[in-house]
């Protein structure tokens, strides 16, 4: 029904509503400063494409690939024409979702097909860079899952290839297209939480990160996230998104990195750590404290931007003020009296008193639209920005217009993930290497 309505209108209602909600028309200049990548998908440009459709092929049809298929089916200017995977059960499941699409097992055959405008890559991480480079060389527009690549050199190669090509390249950094992240970032940059003094991100789960394996020889193919030849572990799979948010807030890149990684619980033959703690330090002393653990989920996932006047909890789309002036005067007065009566220590100054976390009043970044799900998810379980960025990519396939800064942001966050892994591996304090710096980076 929804699909029919969208097809009738000839434009992507989701994308239009999203951009309209952001006030693109009213505050275009201010918005462009925070999210320049949206300039490739304005409502006017969306109108221009009319009823044209991007003919896209999916390379990699596992759970993420199939998730993209669901989203693509809701995008009127997208047409899935081919599917490719080396693992037959996934390919069959994906084909069942879009029976009209052709299927193949060798992605190079897809790239030779002149009918295909763009490819969507949802493969294990080790294949991101090779396929992206081949696809760009073949003249295809490319949408690739994060992270950008498995190694620093591959990241550089992809970045350089992008500089040379006129094709659009997107990495699925969906937080860049997530309405509450954009709103939250606008508020941060407007000074709502004061000066950004630090960032605190974590991602906690209590699961082994494994998938069922029908036969032992498929273990590394299916559970590729657990093995270093395919994956960067928690850093590339989880931290990548969060580090991008931190740099977006700080408007610069960290200069030094130190961390520790270990397997503390899931000693099941995996090669990647199940517990990582990494500290990224900016040149002005601000730090990102990153932590991920997959044997305790008490803390869930959080991206916190800390300011001297307040805290922005990006994940939940909420902010908290240190001195909350939004409360009524009498409530503030009662709070102050309560603090004086119950928190004063008559014998000495308060410096040694343990400061347990106070109760802060949450304020939504988007009025009336916040649904908190135990920190596991955000505003609208299905609307985390993945659908919008995919829609923007399909638009780029038609217009040929590149989205500003998407590749650069993906490059920055992926390189930071890989440097975090290097710091943990070598157990040393490392400086950001000059050879991986790009003009986009500010230190």
């Amino acid at each position: 029904m929804k699909r029919e309505r969208q097809e009738e209108s000839g434009v992507d209602l989701n994308l239009r509503r999203f951009i309209k909600n952001l006030g693109y028309i009213a505050g275009g200049a201010a918005l462009a400063a925070t999210v320049p990548w949206l300039s490739a998908c304005t409502p006017e440009k969306l109108q221009e494409i009319g009823r044209r459709r991007a003919r896209v092929a999916l390379i990699g049809t596992g759970s993420r690939g199939q998730y993209h298929i669901h989203n693509l089916k809701l995008i009127p200017h997208a047409q899935i024409v081919a599917l490719c995977d080396t693992y037959a059960p996934n390919l069959e499941a994906a084909h069942a979702l879009c029976p009209e699409a052709r299927v193949c097992t060798d992605y190079r055959r897809l790239l030779e097909d002149k009918e295909i405008d763009g490819v969507i890559i949802s493969t294990p991480l080790n294949m991101h860079a090779p396929i992206t480079l081949d696809a760009l060389a073949a003249g295809k527009h490319v949408f690739c899952e994060k992270a950008m690549a498995l190694t620093l050199d591959e990241c550089k190669a992809v970045y350089e290839a992008y500089q040379r090509t006129d094709r659009a390249l997107y990495f699925c950094m969906q937080r860049m297209y997530d309405e509450k992240y954009i709103r939250g970032m606008q508020l941060i940059h407007s000074g709502l939480i004061g000066e950004v003094v630090g960032m605190r991100c974590h991602w906690f789960r209590n699961a082994d990160w494994r998938r069922p394996v029908p036969s032992p020889e498929l273990e590394r193919t299916i559970n590729w996230r657990l093995y270093r030849e395919f994956s960067g572990g928690l850093m590339t799979e989880l931290a990548c998104h969060q580090l991008e948010v931190c740099n977006w807030a700080a408007k610069k890149m960290p200069q030094t990195i130190v961390g520790m990684g270990d397997i503390v619980y899931w000693r099941d033959g995996r090669e990647v750590w199940d517990s990582v703690n990494v500290t990224y330090r900016y040149s002005d002393g601000r730090k990102i404290a990153y932590e991920s653990l997959i044997s305790n989920k008490y803390n869930g996932m959080e991206d916190q931007i800390l300011g001297n006047l307040g805290t922005m909890d990006m994940t939940r789309g909420l902010y908290y003020l240190e001195e909350d002036r939004s409360q009524s005067g009498v409530r503030q007065l009662i709070g102050q009296v309560r603090d004086r009566v119950f928190a004063s220590i008559p014998a000495a100054g308060p410096s040694w008193r343990p400061e347990l976390r106070s109760e802060y009043m949450p304020h939504p970044v988007i009025e009336g639209a916040v649904h908190v799900n135990g920190g596991q998810n955000m505003i609208g379980v299905d609307e985390d920005g993945s659908d919008v960025i995919l829609s923007a990519f399909c638009q780029s396939c038609i217009t040929g217009e590149k989205a500003e800064n998407v590749v650069e942001e993906a490059y920055c966050s992926t390189v930071l993930c890989l440097l975090g892994n290097r710091a943990m591996e070598e157990r040393r304090f490392i400086e950001f290497p000059d050879e991986y710096k790009i003009p986009y980076m500010k230190f």
Partner: protein, 80 residues
Amino acid sequence: MKDIIIPAAALCRELRIAVGCFLAAVAVNAGAVVAYERPWTELFSQIGYVIVIAAVLYLLLWPLRLLGRGACLLGRRIRK
């Protein structure tokens, strides 16, 4: 069961004290509006808090009034 008779004078006194507490609570709310630079509409919108503060003040006055009454009785006995 014995009827409890509250004299009109006592009722008037309690009423005056309650109104005094309410006005004091309104003054606290007005002070808070000024101190925290909040809109004057809070004089009405925060009436719930004002009523609670007035009730608390009224209750807090009870022990003081009992002490006062006790002191008066003691003084009278001493004078006798």
